[in-house]
């Protein structure tokens, strides 16, 4: 086993998107559609739900309605992800490609297990950073606001643990790493720049959910900024891991599912209180 032994990639399928081929990745317009759809869906679902709460008399003001709706964000997130899946499938149909093709080269069971474990290990620093940021902004041992506001009946909690994280993994990382990233790489010709833009866009999207109001009225911009800052190291670690694993998405999806389903389960069981 030496550095000069046969090239490591020998016999491996070529997996990197070819910069010159629009057929393999599609145009950057598709990336704009996917990101725009997610932004529109997050805003549309929350504002629609808030409007419904006002119309039915559950909430008196827009702020109250938004805060009431925020308690359900771990459930209505599935609508955003289902909508994203719809857009992805539409793009794939238009370009004559398959969903499986977005997940990268074939991944064996041991690659999946070892890769997911590695991604989880690489996520530890992000978890620590996020915890420190929460303590610095909201006080020692404070719960992050997006978890503190969750207020679900048992049936919805079950949904948030068993269904929502699964749908999220089929849509969110596939949208950003499988659809948006290769298209930006092809357009910009620089992987690092495309990756930086994807991480920034992906983090910025998190500012949109849940929409919370500040005690003085109006949107809680401090929370929105905290949300972006706390999620940034996670997204950077996952994007880097995506490259490190030879553009295999499945290990990242499994690791994210463990984290998200685990968090939802901990909330449902009252372990985070």
């Amino acid at each position: 086993m030496t550095a000069t032994s046969p090239p490591p990639g020998a016999g491996q399928p070529a997996v990197r998107p070819r910069p010159g081929s629009a057929v393999t990745t599609g145009g950057v317009g598709g990336a704009v559609v996917v990101v725009g759809a997610r932004v529109g869906l997050w805003l549309g679902v929350q504002l629609g739900l808030a409007g419904l709460l006002i119309l039915t008399g559950v909430a008196d003001t827009a702020g109250q309605a938004l805060d009431e709706a925020a308690g359900w964000w771990m459930v209505y997130g599935a609508l955003v992800d289902l909508g994203t899946l719809g857009v992805i499938i539409w793009l794939l149909g238009r370009d004559g490609r398959s969903y499986r093709g977005l997940l990268g080269p074939p991944t064996t069971a041991w690659q999946l297990a070892l890769g997911a474990a590695g991604v989880l290990a690489a996520t530890v620093p992000a978890v620590v950073f996020s915890g420190e940021l929460t303590s610095a902004i909201y006080g020692q041992d404070a719960i992050a606001p997006m978890f503190a506001v969750v207020d679900l009946p048992p049936w919805a909690s079950v949904l948030s643990v068993l269904v929502v994280p699964l749908v999220a993994e089929l849509a969110e990382p596939v949208a950003y790493l499988g659809v948006v990233l290769p298209r930006l790489e092809r357009r910009l010709g620089r992987s690092w720049l495309a990756a930086a833009i994807v991480v920034a866009l992906w983090a910025a999207e998190h500012a949109l959910y849940p929409l919370l109001t500040s005690p003085g009225g109006g949107l809680d911009w401090r929370f929105a900024a905290y949300r972006v800052g706390s999620v940034l190291p996670f997204l950077a670690a996952w994007t880097a891991a995506y490259y490190a694993l030879g553009r295999r998405l499945l290990p990242i999806m499994v690791a994210r599912w463990v984290l998200n389903a685990g968090t939802a389960a901990a909330l449902a069981l009252g372990l985070i209180a």
Partner: protein, 159 residues
């Protein structure tokens, strides 16, 4: 030809990741020296985690020479990066951390500086972990390529 190009790209990436980790490590040790609240020999008489961590520099220097001469491969670097990630994470992030994040964030007069060096530490451990993932993948690829090459060589020898 395509495989050879891919191999050289992978080598280049491995070197770049090693240099990046080295720069992040030097920056983190510099932070220790500036803070002065978690240093050991040769700065003080005490031999502690800071002292042990300095062993990484001769390991990296030796590894670079051995890798360049083809005596070690990605497996060596995977162990170095993975071991480094576990060591630094245990010292700073673990339940029994001897130098938890508060010791870094709260020790600078300007909070922004504390957050900057803490962010540097987070980036350092993340780079080590992701680099370990990358090197482990290369290691596995080399082993597979080696296994695939062996039967072919054996068949050639029987002729």
């Amino acid at each position: 030809m395509a495989s050879s190009v891919e191999g050289s790209t992978q080598n280049r990436v491995l070197y770049r990741l090693t240099w990046l980790a080295l720069v992040l490590s030097l920056g983190h040790h510099l932070d220790h020296l500036i803070r002065g609240n978690a240093v050991g020999w040769p700065v003080t008489d005490e031999v502690n985690a800071f002292t042990y961590s300095l062993v990484v520099y001769p390991i990296i220097a030796t590894g670079l020479v051995l890798y360049h001469t083809g005596r070690v491969g990605p497996g060596f670097w995977a162990l170095v990066s993975g071991g480094g990630a576990v060591f630094v994470a245990a010292v700073h992030f673990g339940p029994a951390a001897v130098e938890p994040p508060e010791l870094i964030v709260d020790h600078y007069d300007r909070p922004i500086l504390g957050w900057l060096v803490f962010g540097w530490l987070v980036a350092f451990v993340t780079v080590l972990a992701v680099t370990c993932l990358y090197e482990t993948r290369l290691w596995a690829q080399q082993r597979r390529a080696g296994r695939a090459a062996r039967p072919a060589a054996g068949a050639g020898n029987t002729r």
